[in-house]
């Protein structure tokens, strides 16, 4: 495998264009966690032309709802949730400046088209490795919707979060290419 690329948020168009499927990335900086219920609210705000709880431009959203932080830790287990559930909302967020998404599992055509059109990238994290993933999170702070509990939006400071590029701006899809390579039917 190639050496991992180090990236820091916020991401620029140039950062995103340089990424290709299969690239391993170590991501640092500030990212935001949001999943099902928070996505519904973010898109409702955009449709109503109201301000969002954080600026989307150049940002990265992690599809994740952590377990509670035990004493002495910034966060509990913090692995990705399945991304397809955010597909109905993602194109709107991408059109409003979102540059990266972190999750697990394949995306639909509408999301992939929005990624190509507006230059955004989709990273896969290791699903089911919540304990390991929590090691790259330095701090976590709820910035919106505390009543949603695990689904609240959190501002996360991350250091060298291990990711792989699953969909790039060039139309590549690692979920399709990877399976093609190893299929024996």
């Amino acid at each position: 495998m190639k050496e991992p690329k180090k990236l820091t948020t916020p991401l620029t168009d140039d950062d995103v264009i340089a990424l290709k499927i299969g690239d391993t990335v170590l991501l640092s900086g500030v990212i935001y966690s949001a999943r099902d219920a928070a996505h519904r609210r973010l898109v409702e705000l955009i449709k109503a032309d109201k301000p969002l709880p954080f600026e989307l431009q150049g940002q990265v959203i992690y599809y994740m709802g952590p377990s509670p932080a035990p004493p002495g830790r910034p966060i509990g287990a913090a692995g990705p949730t399945t991304s397809y559930r955010m597909d109905p909302y993602a194109p709107t967020l991408i059109a409003h400046g979102l540059k990266g998404m972190i999750g697990k599992g394949a995306r639909n055509d509408a999301v992939k088209e929005a990624m190509q059109k507006h230059r955004a990238v989709y990273f896969a994290a290791i699903g089911g490795a919540g304990a390991l993933m929590s090691k790259s999170i330095l701090s976590a702070e709820v910035i919106a919707y505390p009543e949603l509990g695990p689904e609240a939006i959190r501002r996360l400071e991350v250091k060298d979060m291990p990711l792989v590029v699953a969909n790039d701006v060039h139309g590549g899809d690692l979920y399709v290419e990877g399976v093609k390579q190893y299929s024996r039917i």
């Binding site: 219920a37 509990g76 287990a77 896969a124 089911g128 949603l148 690692l174 979920y175 990877g178 399976v179």
Partner: protein, 279 residues
């Protein structure tokens, strides 16, 4: 009549919730180690090794294996000569889940179906009661994550499709699930009974140690064949391509109606969490 206090049951359930979510079973660890040897994809091998590392961190630092600490599913085998004193059995189990998810820093993942408002304490609990002869009391806590549960299905096949039809349904289900249930998975299959019984059989098959075959050689042969066909799909660890899509296929079967052939597929991610206790 043997008496067991509701408080004892509550404390037992609490401990089982916490240990199930933080200590990955040795059977799964062994299956993952074997999978590392079998996997040909470098990226896939790396993912499997990281899942082993994750299990080690979770066990040593007492944090959940996965942030999705699941819907609490509880199986109870209660002897007909056992009496629960000091409260109802259902309340005792529910309180145990409440305490376990609070004191163990486990995620509360249960919400109202329409408003999506979180119930706040990971209750209610799905409880399956089985009344058995004698005075034994066995309780199993099996937290089930949403990602793999979402990929599960029940169907009523036409009897004419036979064993091959069952196999096609199972393989197709795994194929369509692709990366979503966090492969490598364990595929639980329930065949027979009725609509709801097939689903319960599939779920119960997941309590078997990973890779232990069904005692019936004919069914064990189908499990083996299905695992081979699934691992030829190329889905691989996390669905990024590879040879190891599933660690095992477990089938449980019972007779069905002359008109029916119910089949359920309950997909389980590698975090095959279940811990049991006898009181």
């Amino acid at each position: 009549m043997r008496e067991i206090s509701a408080e004892t049951i509550t404390e037992t359930v609490k401990k089982l919730c916490i240990s199930a979510n933080t200590e990955l079973g040795e059977d799964v660890v062994k299956a993952l180690e074997k999978a590392v040897e079998m996997e040909r994809s470098t990226a896939g091998k790396d993912i499997l090794k990281r899942l082993l590392e994750n299990a080690k961190i979770a066990r040593e630092e007492k944090i959940p294996i996965c942030q999705d600490t699941g819907y609490a599913v509880v199986f109870v085998e209660i002897g007909q000569n056992v009496r629960v004193v000091g409260g109802s059995l259902k309340d005792a189990i529910t309180e145990g889940v409440r305490r376990g998810y609070s004191e163990g820093y486990l995620r509360k993942s249960i919400c109202h179906c329409f408003s999506r408002e979180n119930t706040g304490d990971n209750t209610p609990v799905v409880i399956h009661y089985d009344i058995v002869p004698g005075d034994r009391f066995k309780i199993t806590v099996a937290p089930k994550g949403g990602g793999s549960e979402n990929m599960s299905r029940v169907t009523m096949l036409t009897p004419a499709v036979g064993v091959e039809g069952i196999k096609e349904f199972v393989v197709q289900r795994v194929k369509e699930s692709g990366p979503n249930p966090c492969p490598p998975t364990i595929v639980g299959v329930g065949i027979g009974g009725t609509f709801e019984q097939a689903a319960l059989l599939a779920k119960k098959s997941l309590l078997r140690p990973v890779g232990d075959p069904n005692p019936d050689p004919e069914i064990a042969g189908i499990e083996k064949d299905l695992l081979d066909r699934i691992n030829r799909l190329g889905i691989g660890p996390q669905g990024l391509g590879g040879y190891v899509t599933s660690l095992a296929v477990h089938i449980e079967m019972m007779p069905c109606h002359i008109a029916s052939l119910p089949v359920a597929v309950n997909i389980q991610c590698h975090a095959a969490r279940h811990k049991e206790a006898e009181l």
